[in-house]
Symmetry: D2
Subunit: 424 residues, 4 copies
C-alpha cells in the first residue's frame, strides 16, 4: 500500500473514538497490527514480544478483562487480542532495506482518564469521532502519534532509505510505565539512532522543535499504610492511626530539602484513608511522585521520600508498603541529531518556525529508550511537532489540527533518511 492511498486522518479518528488507558490499549494495538500486516514489512512483534516482564502499574485482572471485552465488542481482531492477554499491549514493526544503520522511531499510543468535551465547537463532536469510551479521551495526542508512526513507516518504505528501520508503538506512557519494559525488550539493542516525537506542547502548527530536553526524571510510588482500627470514642488509645501516619508523611514529604544541583519535585497527588468518622483509621495510602532535573536528583528525592514515609509509619505504630508504579530517567537530545532535524526542518516549506531546543519541564518515559540507545553508544533525540490545540494537554478540549500530521510525517521521515545517509 502506498502512502498516498491511505487515509491517515480516518485512522487517527478511529483511534480517537477508542481511547484506552495504560496497559489496556487492546483495540488500539489490534488496529495498528491490522494496518502493519498490510504493509511490506520484515518483522512484526506484538504484546509480550515487545515488553520485558517487569511492567509497573498493570491493573488487576477484572479491570483488564473489562477493557479486553470492550475492545472485542468494538471489533478488534480476536487473533491479535489473544496475544495481548494480561495487558501486554504495544507493537514493533521492522523494515530492512539493505546496508545501513538501524534507525528507530518511538511513538506512544495510550489515552487518559478524562471525559471528552461534548460541545459542538469541539472538532471531534462536529466531526463525529468523539470518544466512545466515556470517561476516557485522547487528550494528549497519542492517537496522532500512532498515526504519525504508521505514516513515517509508509514513507520510509517508499523511500530510498538504506538500513534497518523500526517503529516502536509504545503502550502506557501516561503512567510512565511502558517505556522501561519496552527499552528492556531487546528490540532496542541494535538501534543506532532513535527519534521520539510529540505533537503540540504549546507549539503552534508549522513550528518544529529540533531537540527537546529538560525531561524531569520521575518516580511514581504508592504507599499503603496499615495500622490498627479502634472505636474513636470508646478506645482511641487502642488505635494505630494510619491517617495520622499519612498526614505526618505528607507534611514532611513536601518539606524534603531543596537540592542545590537542580530542580526537584514532590507531590502527594492522590491520597485517602479511613472508613468512618467514629473509627480510628486502619488504612491509608499516598499515590505520589518525585522528580528531578537529573536522574540523580530524582533518586535523592526518592530516598528522602521513602525515609519520610517509613518514619511516619513507625511514628504512629503503622506499617507502610512502598511500591514503584512508574518511572522514567532524565535524558538529553544529542546535538548531532538535533542539528540534522534543524537542517531538515529549515528546508521544509511547511515549517515557518524552527525552535532549536526547548525544555519539556515534565516527564516522559521515552527517556528509557533514549537512554538505552545512548548507553549502547547510539544517539537519540526527542522532536516536537507543533499543532494548534484549542485546549491544553490533559484537558477535555484538547485536540490536534489534523493538517499537521503530514508535516510531522515529512520532517521525521526526511530526518531519518538524512541520519541513515550521514550516520552522524
Amino acid at each position: 500500500m502506498s502512502e498516498s492511498e491511505f487515509d491517515y486522518v480516518e485512522f487517527r479518528r478511529d483511534l480517537h473514538r477508542h481511547p484506552e488507558p495504560a496497559w489496556r490499549e487492546f483495540y488500539t494495538t489490534a488496529r495498528i497490527v491490522d494496518e502493519l500486516e498490510t504493509r511490506d514489512i520484515d518483522g512484526l512483534y506484538v504484546g509480550p514480544e515487545v515488553l520485558a516482564d517487569d511492567r509497573p502499574g498493570v491493573p488487576d485482572d477484572a479491570e483488564l478483562d473489562e477493557w479486553f471485552e470492550r475492545a472485542r465488542d468494538a471489533g478488534a481482531r480476536a487473533d491479535v487480542l489473544e496475544k495481548l492477554e494480561g495487558g501486554y499491549t504495544g507493537a514493533v514493526a521492522v523494515v530492512e532495506k539493505g546496508e545501513g544503520p538501524t534507525v528507530a522511531l518511538r511513538v506512544d499510543i495510550d489515552a487518559l482518564p478524562i471525559t471528552e468535551a461534548d460541545e459542538d465547537d469541539h472538532a471531534p463532536v462536529s466531526g463525529e469521532f468523539r470518544s466512545e469510551n466515556e470517561g476516557f479521551m485522547h487528550a494528549c495526542g497519542h492517537d496522532a502519534h500512532a498515526t504519525i508512526g504508521l505514516g513515517v513507516l509508509d514513507s520510509v518504505i517508499a523511500s530510498d532509505f538504506e538500513g534497518t528501520f523500526k517503529v516502536f508503538f509504545q503502550p502506557s506512557e501516561e503512567i510512565v510505565s511502558g517505556g522501561g519494559p519496552m527499552a528492556e525488550s531487546g528490540h532496542l539493542d541494535d538501534v543506532d539512532y532513535l527519534l521520539a516525537a510529540h505533537i503540540g506542547l504549546d507549539h503552534p502548527s508549522g513550528e518544529i522543535v529540533a531537540g527537546i530536553d529538560g525531561f524531569l526524571a520521575v518516580h511514581h510510588f504508592r504507599a499503603e499504610f496499615t495500622g490498627h482500627p479502634a472505636h474513636a470514642g470508646a478506645r482511641p488509645e487502642e488505635g494505630d492511626n494510619a491517617v495520622q501516619a499519612m498526614a505526618a508523611a505528607i507534611q514532611n514529604l513536601y518539606a524534603i530539602p531543596r537540592h542545590a544541583d537542580g530542580a526537584t519535585r514532590i507531590n502527594a497527588g492522590l491520597v485517602g484513608g479511613g472508613t468512618a468518622t467514629n473509627i480510628i483509621p486502619e488504612e491509608s495510602f499516598i499515590d505520589g511522585e518525585v522528580r528531578g532535573e537529573t536522574t540523580e536528583l530524582m533518586e535523592y528525592m526518592q530516598e528522602k521520600a521513602y525515609r519520610v514515609m517509613e518514619s511516619a509509619a513507625e511514628m504512629h505504630g503503622c506499617e507502610v508498603s512502598l511500591s514503584t508504579e512508574g518511572e522514567a530517567p532524565s535524558a538529553r537530545s544529542d546535538d548531532a541529531l538535533v542539528d540534522i532535524v534543524s537542517a531538515v526542518a529549515g528546508n521544509n516549506d511547511g515549517v515557518w518556525s524552527l525552535v532549536e531546543r526547548d525544555a519539556l519541564g515534565g516527564s516522559e518515559d521515552a527517556t528509557f529508550l533514549m537512554q538505552k540507545v545512548q548507553d549502547n553508544g547510539g544517539k537519540a533525540a526527542y522532536i516536537g511537532v507543533g499543532t494548534d490545540h484549542p485546549g491544553g494537554h490533559h484537558t477535555r478540549t484538547f485536540d490536534v489540527n489534523e493538517d499537521d500530521l503530514s508535516l510531522g510525517i515529512e520532517v521525521l521521515t526526511d530526518s531519518i533518511l538524512e541520519i541513515a545517509a550521514t550516520r552522524p
Copy 2:
C-alpha cells in the same frame, strides 16, 4: 389486636431482612405504620410530622430515590411511602388512657452499611432472614428496638396504665442526626418521663442496666478543602495544594490541647484528596468528629477544630467549607427513674443480673430527646437490655437472642406503669 397474638419475632425478622441506613428507613417505617394502624391508638404521626426541618446528613435525591424504589419493590405500602418522600422517615404513636402523666419510650430503627455474615452458623442465615439489602445490615439491634417499641405499646394498651403514652420510632441514629429533629418536632414538649433503651452493649441475656450514662457529646463534621490544581512537574508553584491543607489540618486536629475538665476525643475518620500523582491536588476532605464528656467539652473541641481547619486552609491558599453532619449532646439518666427500673427489674424472675449504672463510652442521639424532656422539667433514663450477641456491635456477625425481646418488653412496660403510677 392483643399482644399474645402478634408474632414479634417474625416482625423483627422482617425488619432484619430489610435493613435501611439513616434517612432511608422507607420500608421500615412503612412496616411499623402498617402494624400501628391495626392497634387501638389515639394518634399516629409519620415522616414530616415527627421531624423538625433541620435534618443533618440527609443524602442526595438520587440516593434517596434508590432506597425509595427498593422499599416499594420490597412491598412497602405506597400511601405510607408517599408521606416519607425526601427522607422524612420515622413515626410517633400516641395512646391516651385517662388522667396521668405523659410517658414516652424512644426506640431507633436504622441500620448500618455493613455486609452481613453469610456463614451457616450465623442465625439469620440458618433462619433465612439474612439481609436482602446486600452491603447493609442490622448490626446494632435496631430491628429489635423497633420490635420492642411495638411490644411495649401493645402491653401498655393492654394494661391498666393511666395517662398518655408515646412511642418514638426514631430514624437516623447511627449518624447521630435523627435525634435532634425529632426532639424539636413538638411531640416531646408535653412528655414528663422518657425512657430510651438499647439491647446488647456487651451485657448478656438476662442482665438489665437500670441507668446508662457516660454519653460522650459528639459533633460530626465534613470539611471540604478547595485549592487550585497545577501540573506537579511543570508548574508546582501555581497550585494551591488542598492535600497539604488537609494534612496540616489533620496533624493539628489531633494536637488540640487536652482539657482538664474531662475526656475529649477527636478523629479524622475518613479523608481523601487529589486526583493523580502528577496534579497538585485541587480538592480534599475530612469527615471527622469531636467528642466531649460534657457538651461544653465537645464544643471546646469543635471550636478549636474549626479554627485549625480554617487556618490550615488559609495556610495553603485554599478555601474550606465546614458542615455539621450529625450531633448529639451528653446526658445523664435521672436517679428517680433509674431507681424504678432497678426495682422493677429486681422483681422480674427473668432478670438474673442487675447493673445499677454503666457508662456507654460512646455517643447516642437519644440524648437530644432526654435533654429536651429534662430541660422541660421532666425526667429521662436510658436502659440497657442484655442479650447474648455472638459478634460485637457493628460487626458482620452481630445478632440478638430473640428470647430477650419479651424480657425487654416486660421490664420496660412494668417500669412505665410504675412511673405513671408514682410520678417520681
Copy 3:
C-alpha cells in the same frame, strides 16, 4: 530546746532570704542541720546518706560550684557543706521514743527560678526578708514546709508519742527529681505511716484538706536532636535538619491519641535549635513532660512520646538522645489516715473549714515516698494546710500567712500522735 522558745517565723524568713533551686539547697540544708543538731534526736542523716545514687536533673559542676560558694558566702557551716558536695542535699531526722510504729513526715525544701516581687506591699519586702538570691524565690512555700517539719519534730519530741518518728527534708521537688532518690535511700523501708503536707494550694487560712489525691504521674524528659549542618543557600541538601526533626516531633507529640482510661497530658515546654539563619540547624532540643491520671497512663504517654521523637529524628536523618530529667508516680491518700486527719482537724478550734478530699491536678514527687510506704504495706496521706496567699503559686507575689505555721504544726503533730496511738 523546747518548741516555745524557738522562733519559727524567723527561721522561715532566713530560708526565704536564701532560696535555692533543685539540688542546690546547700544553705537550706546546712541551716536545717544546724537546728537539728541542737535538738534531742537519735539520728541525723545528711546528703549522700539520704539519697540513692540515681538522681535525675542534677546540674553541671560549674552550676553546683556557684551555689556552693554562694551558700558559703551566706554563712553556711563549712563542715555541713562538705557533706553536700556534688549536690547531695536534704536531710533526715530520727526520734526514737519507746515501742510503737514508725511514723514519718515529708517536707520539701527547694525554691524556684522566679524573681520575687519588689513592691512594698509584698510582705517579704516590708518585712525585709525578700530573696537575696536575685532571680530565685520561695514561690511555692517550701520555706514554710521546712519550718513546719522542724516544728512538728519539736512537738513530737515534747509529746508522749511512742514509737519512731522521722522527718524527711526532701530536696528537688520542683523538678520532681528528689522524691525518687529519697524513697530509695533505705530510710523509708521501715516506715509504717507517712504524712506529707503542702501549704496553700488555693485553700485559705484555717482550712485543712484531710486527703489530697489526683496527683498526675509525671515524666520529664530532655530530647537532644543531632543532625548535620550545611549552608542553607549553597548546599541545603547536605544538611540533616535537627529543627525539622524537632518540629515534626512537637506536632506529633501533642497528637498522641487520648486515652479512654483517664486524663493524660503532654507538653514541649522549652525548645530550641539552630545557630544562624543561613545554616541548616545541626542541633535542637525539647524539654518536655508527659503526665497521666495514673502511672500507667503516664507510661502510655511516655512510650508514645519516645516513639514519636525517635521516628521524627530518623525521618530527618538525625540522632536523638532521650533522658529522664524527673519523674513521679501517681498516688492516693489512704482512707484510714484521711479519717484520722479529718477527726483531728475537726477538733481543732483553729480550723474553721475542713475539706475531706481534694484533687491536686498537678504532680508531686512525694508520691514516690507515699508509694514506697504503701508498697511495703504501710499507709500514706497528703495533707493540705490552707493559707491566704496574695499571689498564686509559682508567681512573683506568692507569700504565706505566717500565722498558719503553728496551725499546720498542730494538726500534723496531733494526727501523728493519733496514728501512733491507734495504728489504723
Copy 4:
C-alpha cells in the same frame, strides 16, 4: 602619601586584630577614616552621611555601647567614633580628577561571630595578629577587602585616571543589611560604573574571576509568636501554645512548593520557645530566611512564608509579629565590564588563571549597590580575587595569603582605568 610607602599588610593585620560584627564596626571605620584623612581626596563621608535611615538588624543600645567602648579602649579616635553613634558605621571616599565618568568600588568591612583558631600553624597566631575580640573573627576576608579598597584608592590617585572615583567601605554585609541603606544614601546616584570584589571563594592565589553571578536574592526575617501561658498539668486548655504554632510553621515553611522558574531556598535557622516543661509556652520565635535565584523567586518564597507563619499563629490562637532582619536582591555582572576585567587580568603577569564567569551560589548585599547603578542606566560587575585560604570561608582557620592583596589592587585599578577610558 604614595602607594609605595604605605604598609598594606600591616593595615590589614590591624583590622584583623579588631574584628567587629555588623553595625558595630567602630574601630574599623575609625581606622579607615584615619588613613583616608592622610590621602589627597576630595570628599569623605562617614556614618550617618553614608547610610539611609532604614537599617535592618541594628542591635540594641547595650550591645552597641559595649562595642563602642571596646573600640575606644582599642585606641579608636574619639572624634570619629562620635560620628558613628547608634551604629552608623562605614565611610565613602571621593576623588575627583577632571572630566570623565564616575566609577566606584565597593568593599565590605564587617567580621563574624566565630572564635579564631589558636593553633600555631594558623598564620595570625604565628604572626601575632590573631583576633583580640574573643569570639569574633575576620573569617571572610573583609579585612583584606578594606585594605584593597584603600590600595585601589591610592593607586587611582597616583594614576592618570580622569573622572570621579568613589570607594564605598560598606558595613554589615554578613547579615545582608548594610548594602540596602548604603545604596539608598544618595552617594550611588551619579555612579556610572561599579565594581565590587571578593577575595577567596575557593579560587586559588593568582586566579581572577572576571564576573561573578548567581547571587541568590535573600530575605532574613524574624517571627515572634505570642500566645498565652497555662499550667501544662492543671489547665492545658487555657494555653495558646506558641511552640505548637512555631512547629506548625516550621513544618509548613519547608513545604512551600518548589518553583519551576528556578532555585528557591528556605531555612528556619534559629528557633526557640517556652520557659519550662510544665508551662504551656507563651512565646517562641523563628529567625529564618528565604532565597531565590531571582528577586521574584525570593519574593514568592517570602509571601508564602509569611502566609504560613500568620496562619500557623492563628491556628493556635497566637499572634505573630514579622520583621525584616536583612535583605538583598539578585544581580548580574554586566558583560561589558566583565570583558574589560577579563582583558585586564589576561594581560597581568601575576594572573595565571582567568575564570570568565562563576556563580556565587550564596547571597551578598553588594547586589543592592549593583542594582542601583544598573537601574540608573549604569553598569556593574562583581570580581573574584583568588587566594589560597587554608580553611573555608566562615570557619575558624580561614585566612588570606597577604601576597594576593597587591594583585587584587592592580587588577581592580587597571580595570577602573580602562573603564574610565573606554566608557563601555
